[in-house]
Symmetry: C2
Subunit: 247 residues, 2 copies
């Protein structure tokens, strides 16, 4: 088995209303060369940031009125009260809120720092991106427009217990994000009991290797993966509350 | 940027005392073809299972005397009391122990299900592998013997909040597992404040895409990564207790 992963490096700064599929198609055509054609054998990974920007999921912090709660917590930990207010508005549950770190469950059920609110690669201190409303739908639109095999929308998340961030899939179209080995057997004929692999998160992490934060390579093509086409949804990656030992 | 990831598919069943570097070198030579030469530009990812087997980190469960505690908990949740005892012996802290699931901090500080004790791809119900004693040292030995740029030893871990398992790096040699963007700037000149990427875990996840559990492809070559050579240690990926919001 053999995977080939390439970046599209010539995507311009994305703005509200831009047709992201066109920008990606044009970048692939312009760059040409090995591995850069987009077809049904390709998994396209796209960074959340440019999806949010194209969908206008950018908030002008000057329009936010922080609550007294947001103001006092922000003051205690030297954070921007407008950002804290925005984070709370994007959250349906606070998982941890301590030492200036805010980990929340977002409106769509993702658990991550700052509920996905982010100021990196955004112009000016007064703006922040929020997560796309429906990242699966964003992925589906890109897949349809581009005719690629699957699309994943990636974001960069921290994890408990381990240092450093990794990219995960927050939107999926065209593949089942979980590869379920239960019932299959290993080389010794032993049933693989609990083995369900988060293939979409592994794809996101692989793509993340080619999306250095400082560079602006927000789209990556992965070729060589074998998978059963499926509608797919990143919601399958969210652990159900009753099965979550860490609630 | 462009990454190429290939499996070595012809590594035989590994047994105690086998010279793993030789088996990998022979498989690469036998398979030949594009991307299969091992040199200083390559990151080699090796599954923990074959490292443990070659190092004799395989336990005969018939030699284990389960404690009363292990026996009662195993009986309550229909698990093998000998395995529970082995898991406890590999742990320095129990993180969660509920509903038949045992999440522990291992003797070397990893947090994972069953303290890394595993029966998949092991011959017979009476045997289980444990994690290598010092996975960084295992990685360093392979790197020295094979002359590759970096080595990571991977294992397949669950995570809180998200469904499905992903591969992570439990041993590292030849690269810093964390890529620290702090102080660097994004495209808009904004400082990337909290951004430290767990590059070794992203490499492990990428390799995991080519290590399907049922197949037996325990070694993967990754070519095209640019990195600063460094001694490296997977211990850098372990969050320090005082910085861990989830203790």
């Amino acid at each position: 088995m053999r995977l080939e992963i390439v970046t599209l490096s010539s995507i311009p700064e994305v703005r509200r209303g831009d047709d992201l599929a066109s920008l990606i198609r044009q970048a692939a055509a312009r760059e040409g060369g090995e591995g850069k054609n987009i077809d049904h054998s390709v998994v396209l990974a796209v960074a959340q940031k440019i999806v949010s920007k194209s969908e206008g999921a950018v908030v002008d912090l000057r329009e936010i009125q922080p609550s007294a709660f947001a103001q006092s917590w922000a003051a205690e930990w030297s954070r921007d009260a407008r950002l804290i207010q925005l984070i709370l508005s994007q959250s349906r549950r606070i998982v941890k809120m301590d030492r200036g770190v805010l980990i929340a469950e977002t409106l769509t059920g993702l658990v991550c720092a700052n509920a996905g609110v982010d100021q990196s690669n955004v112009e000016g201190d007064d703006f922040a991106t929020v997560l796309p409303n429906d990242p699966d739908a964003s992925a589906r639109r890109l897949r349809t427009s581009l005719g690629c095999g699957a699309v994943i929308i990636t974001d960069t998340f921290g994890r408990p217990w381990r240092e450093g961030l990794v990219d995960v899939a927050i939107g999926v179209a065209g593949l089942d994000p979980l590869d379920d080995y239960r019932g299959r057997t290993d080389r010794h004929g032993r049933k693989l009991a609990g083995t369900i692999i988060a293939v979409a998160d592994q794809l996101a992490a692989a793509a993340g290797l080619l999306m250095p934060k400082a560079a602006g390579c927000p789209a990556v093509l992965i070729r060589g993966l074998r998978w059963q086409p499926a509608e797919g949804s990143a919601r399958s990656l969210q652990r159900k509350p009753e099965q979550d030992l860490f609630r």
